[in-house]
Amino acid sequence: MRLLSSRRRHPAAKALLLVFGLFMMGALYSVIAPPAQVSADTGNSQQIAEGKALFAVGCASCHGLNGEGQISGTIQGPPLTGVGAAAVDFQVSSGRMPMARPGEQAPVKPNVYTEEEIAALAAYVASLGPGPAIPEPANYDTANLSAEDLARGGELFRTNCSACHNFEGAGGALPNGKYAPPLIGLDSQRVYEAMLTGPQQMPVFSEEVLRPEDKRAIIGYLNSLHERPSDGGLALGGLGPVSEGLWAWIIGVGGLIFFAMWIAARGAKAK
């Protein structure tokens, strides 16, 4: 106390008191004020304006200043009218967009946008035309799925998805250097958004034909498939006979051949 009272006329006291007061106000505000809303609210004109500004910097060089797209020319980007917030959330969150350079495939890379920025971009693109909204967490919540649902999800997956993504979701090749990415360890929301919007070469699976409960069953099947440990130990990517044959013939039979050669190389009889 004596320290405080003796130094109260110190030249720095006023400034320190001011800093302390500001700090207290800030701390109080952060406790009392409601947390910022992070959502692609299409009615939020400020969010749309922020999104438009971000769009002009990161997206417009290919997709045009108003998302009208460029179909001809060296730099091409499809029009974004009607792709919806779900497409933006999928493409930007996974780092596919903005692409580093135009090409056949939009590879996954680290995402540089914050959640607020992605929500703003999504709100802006959603305002260009009606399209699928970002799915609600209830749509892809697979906690309450029964074994029957998972079996049905497996059937739907093998019918609709396995042609490109492999029967285990390990991904696969497409023509001209394109590929269907692996589905292992993906966020359920991304999988749902991909089915909803049909990114890049992937076809669309609309809510009317592949219903929300069907999509949820597919996601549940994928998650249950990838959570299960492999009984054999080394699953070899789940690619089937190609990788298994490669290992059996090169490592297995090749190893035996080397072993036999090693025995014979030391001479047919001992020294």
Partner: protein
Amino acid sequence: MSDDTSHGQPGTEVATVDEERYPVPDPGLEEHLPRLTDVDEKAADRATRQVATFFGLVPLLSIGFAVVYFAVPGEAWIDFGPLRANSRNLLLGLTFGLALLFLGVGAVQWARKLMDDEERIDYRHSAASSDDDKNYMLTELDEVVEESKLTRRKIIGRTLLAALATILLPMIVGLADLGPWPTKKKRAETIETTIWAPGVRVVHDVTFEPMKPQDIEIGQLVNAEPANLQDLEGSEYQIEKAKAAVIVVRMDPNTITIPPSREDWQIGGILCYSKICTHVGCPISLWEQQTHHLLCPCHQSTFDLGNSGVVVFGPAARALPQLPITTDAEGYIIARSGFDVPTGPSFFERDSRKDFKVGDN
């Protein structure tokens, strides 16, 4: 070497002095040198112990296998970094694999170190029988024929021949079980047709839900079946599904080519194609929505669904058959008719004159 005396002495059959046939003289066998184990009794004892140890480990490992089989629970796991292995499978493999390996290693060591290793030459003998043997066989044969009375009572031989010839008939007739005789009529009602018919609804595979054009967005792919497939069961279901499976795709009508003859086969860019590759019949739904190309994963045949399903790459020789579609009174997608050409892979009698070719209208 002692049993080949009747076929010449060693060295006499190989004419090593014949300059024409053998310009290089036969070097003969390498000089035999004793191994360490041949001269040193201690080394031989050591090798014996090695072989016995390897052989002795085999029963231990075999018993270990049996113990692991019953004692280790199937739900236990061992982690090796990112790999996760089932403990029982791993231990079963290790015990049995090592048992086999030690058996082999012991045998190799035994042969190399301890077994007698002196090299010898065994000459080949002639493969032909001796004249004595041949004559004996012929006289025996004559005797048997005589004793069987076949030469005197010829009717037995003839009926036996007829019996043996006709006993094959049941076997040949049994081959008819392989399937119906593929006459033109039979082909027309089996392999060349599907259960698609005018008015049959196009329904989603798996869920069998019908669909309306407004449910299908541009870039959408639907794996579909005819609605009347649900009425079938068992092998009939499988056979018909294998021929009738289709894919429904929607593309922007401005970006695709529709020939005038197929103008009314589609609904605003919604087209329906057979799902069965025309090469060897793999089901294909590997569709790129931007290029409109459909790729068959079996042999990389690629069909352009934006151009009546013509082949753009790969070994397939024919365009993918297209199913004409329209909507019924309730607005659901139905087939206008069945396929105009047989779906699926080629077969010998197939008439390919009606298939769509580039340049057709």
